[in-house]
Symmetry: C2
DNA sequence: TGTTAGCACTCACTTGTTTGGAGTGCTAAT
DNA sequence: ATTAGCACTCCAAACAAGTGAGTGCTAACA
């Protein structure tokens, strides 16, 4: 298959751009005027016919204009998109009064992104690729409960209540605390292995059982850093007629509500060293219900080895240019946004 | 205005019930057969005409059946609803593997309720009407950060990072901890007043400034027990044609996404000693965008003075009977559901 | 050989008209 | 007081016709 010559590319580009704007099938006449090629609509028609044969555009029905196919969008995103990197309103200032809870920050970011882009958005909690334990403390809360507080290098705090048969005396507690801290401090999850554990238990002597429970709790707590996903702007999809019939809308909103699926979409990105921006067009998305949408995701990194994901879900004819530069901007700022509070 | 005689009531009842089932305007003929009154459609017509004049039912257009008006629903809910208290699938068992985080539990409850009722649901975190401090602890996490951990009587744990100019020595820390615990322990929020505060500061001596910061943090943390609201089953509204045109659906889902509004809907209930089940029909709801829906809320109580709210949002023709008994069942079980974990 | 003008054809969409049926209100008879 | 009967209303579905945007093809042109 011989590839597209320059003129075809120009025409394809014109088609897609105008379609992105209007959302209506675009006809030969329109292109003939819009471009500076000075070609008659007839010529354009011939070229469009070729483009359709090559699979870049589709005719919804016989006597309608053409709309881009998934392949067309793909080509557009891969080759036609100039990286303008326009400057974008500085989010850092706009966004956040210091809330200490990451949850709040994430929700706010999602919301703001949804507002500025007019698409549905999602963001995951950063996942500790290599997060270290910074501080551990056990406290006797009441007769029957021990509270384990774990602070990670990233200043994420986790709590875990541990039921106890009978209270520990304060001396033991102190000993355990010192032991835990001196051993675990600075270790990342993979480093807390059987060796560490058995050594710990040994040193705990009488209370190895408690250490066991605590360690389990710690491990669980740490690893239970499941990706949480926050979404916002779900209703934005109603702004795009091609998505807002109740069948599709329902499915989409359901997918946004059931965050679990979204997580899967994003995890693979985190696994791979896929640091850049990922674009899923239509069927390319692993989530079936999103086959009528495009999904753009980006990973952000928090310096201290935490990685998370931001994503935008919109119609196929989304403004890729704006979305991608927004995401690029955002991911570069998230680090400092998170650092500022604490 | 002379009130409804018995026959009118029966007819109204029949109209509403069949409308709840079908969702279509119901005509005289239908009623004539459905009821055991053995009346001809003509008679029914006369009665219906009366009922319409009294405002209990409406004719969407001249030659259509009748549908209940808000007033009709109101009458139905207030007088016609027998409290069957049918037994309902036991949620306690169904629901919850022990997750220690209340958030998880609430999300699950909302989800399950949405699944069994086929309406949209919401649930708030329990609010401490009279929640007491059980345990406080300051820990030196690193050079520049103090971590305050606060455990409430209800075993809710809150963390607060406090930035420090320079580290405290461990002796001072111990002193502060003892001081805080002995003073605050068992106090509820209103009891931590200026008196307590100044006494505390006095006793803290050199470190009164730190106590100040800590107390602020504690107060903020405690009072910042803002109602969080979790929703689920938003997409259920698409199951009811009268709500699923994109205009309405969009507004509704937006309202569900913007949980803030929902909170307001519910708070007033918590304030009042309104312990029972509250039904808002159409315009009765304080949230404007829900004027086409009915909202049923119930408050649950957790024994230790925590109160929260569960709600169901559905079409006006929701199955009030089922919904109300579900809610009644649920609220009575929530206490033990929460107690079980820890 | 590439480009263009012209023309017939297609097909969704709109508008107007028709028809059927469900439902009502009224009246007269029981 | 109830009911049968009938005329009337009005929505909804079906159908017809007109409109217009857009295409494909062909023949003429540079």
């Amino acid at each position: 298959m011989e590839e597209l010559d320059e003129r075809k590319v120009k025409i394809l580009n014109a088609i897609i751009r105008t379609y992105l704007e209007t959302g209506e099938p675009v006809g030969s006449r329109t292109i003939s005027k819009y471009t500076d090629l000075n070609l008659s609509s007839a010529t354009i028609r011939n070229e469009m016919s070729d483009l359709e044969e090559l699979g870049y555009i589709i005719q919804p029905h016989t006597s309608a204009g053409r709309i881009p196919s998934d392949k067309g969008y793909r080509f557009y995103v891969d080759h036609l998109l100039e990286n303008k990197d326009k400057e974008i309103s500085d989010m850092k200032d706009f966004v956040i009064e210091h809330t200490e809870r990451m949850e709040q920050v994430l929700k706010q970011v999602a919301k703001m992104l949804a507002q500025t882009t007019n698409y549905a958005t999602m963001i995951t909690t950063p996942k500790s690729v290599r997060n270290k334990v910074k501080f551990v403390q056990l406290s006797q809360v009441d007769e029957e409960h021990l509270l384990a507080v774990i602070v990670m290098e990233s200043n994420v705090v986790k709590n875990k209540m541990i039921p106890l048969a009978e209270p520990l005396d304060s001396e033991t507690l102190l000993k355990l605390n010192i032991l835990l801290n001196s051993t675990l401090n600075g270790l990342s999850i993979p480093e807390i292995n059987l060796g560490t554990i058995s050594r710990l238990k040994e040193q705990a002597g009488d209370h190895s059982d408690i250490i066991g429970i605590v360690l389990d709790a710690v491990a669980e707590t740490i690893s239970q850093e499941e990706l949480e996903v926050y979404t916002s702007g779900a209703t934005n999809i109603f702004k795009y007629p091609e998505l807002s019939d109740s069948q599709r809308a329902s499915e989409l909103i359901y997918a946004l509500e059931e965050k679990q699926q979204l997580a899967t979409l994003v995890t693979e990105n985190l696994q791979n060293e896929n640091t850049g921006i990922q674009v899923y067009i239509g069927d390319e998305s692993p989530i079936q219900t999103m086959k009528d949408c495009s999904v753009v995701t980006a990973t952000y990194e928090l310096g201290d080895g935490m990685k998370g994901s931001v994503g935008i879900i919109g119609p196929k004819r989304m403004d890729y240019e704006k979305v991608m530069s927004h995401l690029k901007e955002l991911t570069s700022q998230l680090d400092s946004i998170f650092k500022k509070p604490t």
